[in-house]
Symmetry: C2
Subunit: 105 residues, 2 copies
DNA sequence: TCGGAATACATCATATCACGAAGTATTGTG
DNA sequence: CACAATACTTCGTGATATGATGTATTCCGA
């Protein structure tokens, strides 16, 4: 999908992916694949940003000899999702404006 | 509204604003105000980008002693709006995913 | 057993882009 | 006469998505 359209959705998508249970990089990418494609470099940039913003916390844990970083959503992270939902009304108004048919042409 | 969310909407908003009839910078800003706020510097950046992409054409014309640049949407510009509408299904799927309630928490 | 796919994370450079700040110039208004 | 509104332009900055590249381990099939 269009890279620009994606920008506003990426952060909340990642937050939504770890909302039900803590998750880690590789799994987040696979879980989001049906909705939005993102590369590893993008994901880790997003995760770093969200951590700095206090929207999630990180815990490193060993899993079958391999290190894994588990990401856990915070209250602020859940709040971010709620804010997104509130903003959606504005987005839908814009969509209506853009997509309405134009009988004069 | 959120700057990131805005990114995917700005170009099509401007195209939609000149779809019914040719318009010019100042008026586009006023017409879009109910939907999306944008500064002059942003608008002229967008207009330049859309012109380079062949989505609109420009015509300079004098109006009461002042120069005005009128912007006219092209076939490709109308096509861009149609593409946006097509992509909206994906966006709505993402919205559903993000906004769905989560009974476990 | 050997090699490649999958898993898992990290870093760097680049290109795109929204926006504030500042500037130029004219018309209308109190 | 000063100030707001109209109208367009340029510059610098910060945010950010992404490809390329690198490191390291586990698992599976030939």
């Amino acid at each position: 999908m269009d890279a620009q359209l994606k920008r506003g959705l990426l952060d909340v998508c990642v937050l939504a992916a770890i909302r039900q249970e803590d998750s880690y990089g590789y799994r987040i990418i696979k879980d989001l694949k049906p909705y939005i494609a993102l590369s590893e470099s993008t994901l880790y940039t997003v995760l770093k940003r969200l951590e700095l913003a206090g929207l999630l916390t990180v815990r490193t844990s060993e899993h079958e000899g391999r290190l894994r970083k588990y990401y856990h959503i915070t209250k602020a992270g859940l709040g971010r999702i709620e804010d997104f939902k509130d903003e959606w009304r504005e987005v839908m108004a814009i969509y209506q404006f853009v997509s309405k048919e134009d009988p004069e042409r």
